[in-house]
Symmetry: C2
Subunit: 166 residues, 2 copies
């Protein structure tokens, strides 16, 4: 009995989760993106035309912070603000062609990331791990594909603060 707290699954999850997030942030910094920026690009790919307010809510950031956040991506030509004809208060945000191209690189980075993190596992073990993680995630009530952390916008350097313990 007596599961060792420091080597238990919960601790390993937190440790590996922070590690995976760091590694991913470092990887996409090579294509000039921070994790929140990547999140917005993906969001616009699947649901184009949303208003800034909707997007800010999805990303868990206040509207006032979303503005400069979107400004930068717009300035880099990755996203586009289109005025909504029906309600001129709203913008509709879309990916530009450049943004779509970068999204492709982002997806490629995601695949490489998966490989990097799981390189120690056989294909069978990889499948097992994924299945177990899915099971835990479901039991914990986590929304598939949605990552919570977004309080921090990320300064560009790979710096995912975790704050668990040591």
């Amino acid at each position: 009995m007596d599961i060792p707290a420091r080597g238990g699954a919960a601790f390993l999850l937190a440790q590996l989760g922070a590690h995976a997030a760091t590694a991913f942030a470092e990887r996409i910094s090579a294509i000039g993106l921070t994790p929140p920026q990547a999140g917005l690009l993906r969001l616009l790919a699947t649901e184009p035309g949303r208003s800034q307010r909707e997007l800010a809510d999805r990303l868990g950031m206040p509207p006032s912070r979303f503005v400069p956040f979107a400004d930068e991506l717009e300035g880099r030509g990755l996203i586009e603000r289109r005025r909504n004809a029906g309600d001129r208060r709203l913008y509709a945000l879309h990916l530009t062609e450049q943004g779509t191209a970068l999204l492709g690189e982002l997806q490629q980075a995601g695949r490489a990331h998966e490989e990097q993190i799981c390189r120690g596992l056989s294909p069978e073990e990889h499948r097992q791990l994924t299945a177990l993680l899915r099971q835990v995630a479901e039991e914990q009530g986590l929304t598939p594909g949605v990552h919570p952390g977004f309080r921090t916008v990320g300064s560009g350097k790979a710096n995912p603060t975790s704050s668990f313990n040591s």
Copy 2:
């Protein structure tokens, strides 16, 4: 082929890791501790008498931040600064009796946390998951029992910033 990036093991690890860290922070906030504080108590339990500088290094925080950090725990009677007779520049930090008692509660919280996170798994699945996570952690070169994140001291509320994406 083509591992789905959003539902892959790497993403699930980041998502579950953030979830586990949040849940743990919430749990120990009930006994008045933040994750970094818990980390220090554990460190003092296994390696008492270290200097502040050593401890700050271990926790990944600059010495200037360690000072008020230790001040609070000392003020609450959980730790104690003892002057080193040999080298009077150094303090030797120790747990007080109160601190040791709280450490007991902390360990109990850790066990409950493990159970909460893994409640969706059978005992056999739990063992499998732990083994796979250990394997990945080792392959990734992670130090057993050491969690990276400590840039943020944690304001007391359960707020583990993760910053992956969404």
